[in-house]
């Protein structure tokens, strides 16, 4: 167990170091920070002064180590575009993205899991065929187009839901939430739905595939032979074993959902991390780009690690293998 944990942690550290190195290279060699701060026609002495102030005159290894130390303290430097500390900007935008991603995942689970179970149990029914067709459309339709269509239908044609922004938010000191006001909730509906469409289709297909696999297995056949009622077989025996891989996938999807929020936030002008990232890419603001890279990598790595541990806790076979 300890060995397994240490190995995983080691791998995680390597990944994070690699990503930080890439971010460092981007941070240092893309664009000219001195020009970005002073403008094109600054005097040579002014350039020197800024270079010295930023520490650009030191050897590369020293700069990487000090960058690493800064990153560990949560200091990603100043944004070229906004002139504010990157960390402040990110902390400011984070709640909007988290709320959007979690709402989207909530919707996706509420719809995706039941649809998946139904389409596995009723393998050949007409309803299943409709669901499977719909799920293929859900996977084929680009997220941004879902957003455009939702705005067209619900904001423009019906005029019932807002098409941009976050509505009124409540400041809790360290977190601003849109969950507590009617306009905040209304503003959440369309973005959360459009981010959920792909996930619904994805979760449904995964749950179905897992469930079909489990239904075919010996112990389910055996339960059937024992004459247990169908509902008991499906929900007590089959679904339970289906849920383990599904939980993994959902955890992994949550990370990509936060990344995918980039697109949805752009469609709905949702003031979150994703919109910030896109604006930074368009303006070639490398400080924010590299900070975002490191943060997203950190998020994914933590989720991956948590999933591995979860597997370890759930699956006795893994424990046995590692114990040997």
């Amino acid at each position: 167990m300890i060995v397994f944990l240490l190995k995983r942690l080691g791998g995680t550290l390597v990944v994070m170091l690699a990503v930080t190195a890439i971010a460092f290279v981007m941070f240092n060699y893309l664009g000219d920070p001195v020009v970005a701060i002073l403008g094109q026609d600054a005097s040579e002495s002014a350039r020197r002064a800024v270079e010295q102030q930023l520490g650009l005159d030191r050897p590369i290894t020293v700069r990487f180590l000090s960058y690493l130390a800064d990153v560990l303290r949560g200091d990603f430097g100043l944004s070229y575009r906004l002139g504010q500390p990157v960390m402040d900007v990110i902390v400011d935008r984070l709640p909007a993205t988290i709320e959007l991603a979690f709402s989207g995942m909530g919707i996706a689970l509420l719809i995706g899991v039941p649809c998946g179970v139904y389409s596995a149990i009723q393998r050949n029914s007409a309803g299943t065929r409709v669901l499977l067709g719909a799920s293929l459309v859900g996977i084929s339709v680009p997220t941004f187009f879902v957003g455009v269509v939702l705005i067209w239908v619900f904001s423009v044609t019906l005029g019932v839901l807002p098409s941009f922004g976050r509505g009124q938010t409540v400041d809790l000191g360290w977190w601003t939430t849109g969950f507590l006001t009617p306009s905040g909730l209304a503003a959440l509906v369309l973005p959360a739905t459009s981010i959920a469409v792909f996930q619904i289709a994805m979760i449904m297909r995964l749950v179905r595939a897992e469930m079909l696999e489990v239904i075919r297995s010996d112990y389910v056949q055996f339960a059937r032979a024992r004459g247990l009622p169908e509902s008991r077989i499906y929900f007590r025996h089959a679904l339970k074993n289906t849920l383990i891989p599904v939980i993994t996938i959902i955890a992994l999807q949550l990370g990509s959902l936060i990344a995918f929020a980039v697109i949805t936030e752009s469609v709905f002008q949702w003031p979150g991390l994703g919109l910030l990232f896109l604006q930074s890419v368009a303006a070639a603001d490398v400080t924010i780009m590299s900070a975002y890279l490191i943060l997203i990598a950190g998020l994914f790595v933590v989720i991956n690690l948590a999933v591995d541990l979860l597997y370890f806790a759930i699956d006795p076979r893994l424990r046995a293998r590692a114990g040997r």
């Binding site: 084929s140 680009p142 455009v148 705005i151 423009v156 890419v281 070639a284 490398v286 997203i296």
Partner: protein, 325 residues
């Protein structure tokens, strides 16, 4: 995706195409089990037909598009904001309506299709070349080379492809100035898609190569002193192509979506030579004022294109996977 890496290819179709010339390929295709099962599958045949039509239209847009939409002399502002033909004020002259400058949406879609398909195919081709090479080398050489290459793949897999593509695009913006980047937009997107998508191929090909490596035909090639590159590309490669074909089809759908998404958020193809994503981006400005068709019609075209590709991908995966039979 069900793991194609563990399905060593034994289908006669792939074997014969690898070994024969173009004329005999056609013959082999007609009697191949793949084509026979395609004929039996109505949905897949329809998807194949639609895709073929779209690809041909993308290849020779001049034959299909009623208007030369990007010819500035043909712009007629009188015809601006015409709705599609089934709405009041629309005419069959412009079946899907016109945009703010009086350009025919259908023609714009057909030319946009060309850009989207070019970028998609280019990106997939690049990803195939990188991924297959890395997969063959990693699977055949093994050892430390394998560990390093697969570690890199793991790191990359932690990020969604779309984010990597956005990053690469951002890097291109920091390196190139604006005008140069606009000119190179197609190339930048192909590189972004190729570099963000090679991992799946590498993993599948590596798995298949590790199986093939122990076969007798590889041993006999080694004994007759065929060069390693010869063994990899002439002997092993044809036998892992099935997996590449399945992944490639599904990846093409993803690649086209990545291109459209980047173009939609303004990081992809510029409006001077728009792709479907660019058209939707431009049309999105008119959604709020009610001219919905400028964005929705290109979006539907994109949806049909990707849906057809995905249907075909699903069919190929099932048809080529012996475990499901």
């Amino acid at each position: 995706m069900s793991d194609p890496g563990h399905t060593p290819d034994t289908s006669p179709a792939a074997k014969s195409t690898a070994a024969t010339g173009p004329g005999r390929i056609l013959l082999a295709l007609r009697s191949s089990p793949l084509v026979r099962s395609l004929r039996k599958d109505m949905v897949a045949s329809a998807a194949f037909g639609v895709l073929l039509l779209l690809l041909v239209a993308a290849a020779v847009p001049d034959l299909f598009a009623p208007y030369q939409v990007f010819d500035l002399t043909q712009i007629r502002l009188m015809d601006a904001f015409r709705p599609p033909f089934w709405l009041e004020g629309g005419s069959i002259e412009f079946p899907f309506g016109t945009d703010d400058q009086g350009r025919d949406i259908l023609s714009a879609i057909i030319y946009g299709l060309r850009v989207s398909v070019t970028v998609g195919l280019g990106g997939v081709a690049l990803a195939v070349v990188i991924g297959v090479t890395i997969g063959l080398v990693a699977g055949y050489v093994g050892g430390i080379v394998d560990s390093i290459l697969m570690r890199i793949a793991d790191v990359q897999l932690t990020f969604p492809a779309i984010l990597i593509a956005v990053m690469i695009d951002g890097v291109s913006r920091a390196i190139l100035d604006n005008a140069a980047r606009e000119d190179a937009a197609v190339v930048v997107l192909i590189i972004a898609i190729g570099l963000s998508g090679w991992v799946e191929y590498a993993r599948a090909v590596r798995g298949a190569t590790m199986v093939e490596r122990r076969r007798d035909y590889v041993a006999s090639a080694q004994l007759s002193r065929v060069r390693t590159s010869g063994i990899l590309f002439n002997h092993i490669l044809p036998n892992v192509l099935t997996a590449v074909l399945v992944i490639g089809t599904i990846h093409l759908g993803v690649a086209i979506l990545i291109e459209a998404t980047l173009s939609f958020v303004g990081l992809g193809i510029p409006p001077t030579q728009p792709s479907l994503g660019t058209l939707i981006r431009v049309g999105n400005n008119y959604i709020l004022s009610g001219e919905w068709w400028i964005a929705i019609m290109p979006g539907l075209a994109l949806l049909v294109l990707v849906l057809a590709i995905n249907l075909l991908g699903d069919f190929l995966r099932d048809a080529l996977n012996p475990r499901l039979k």
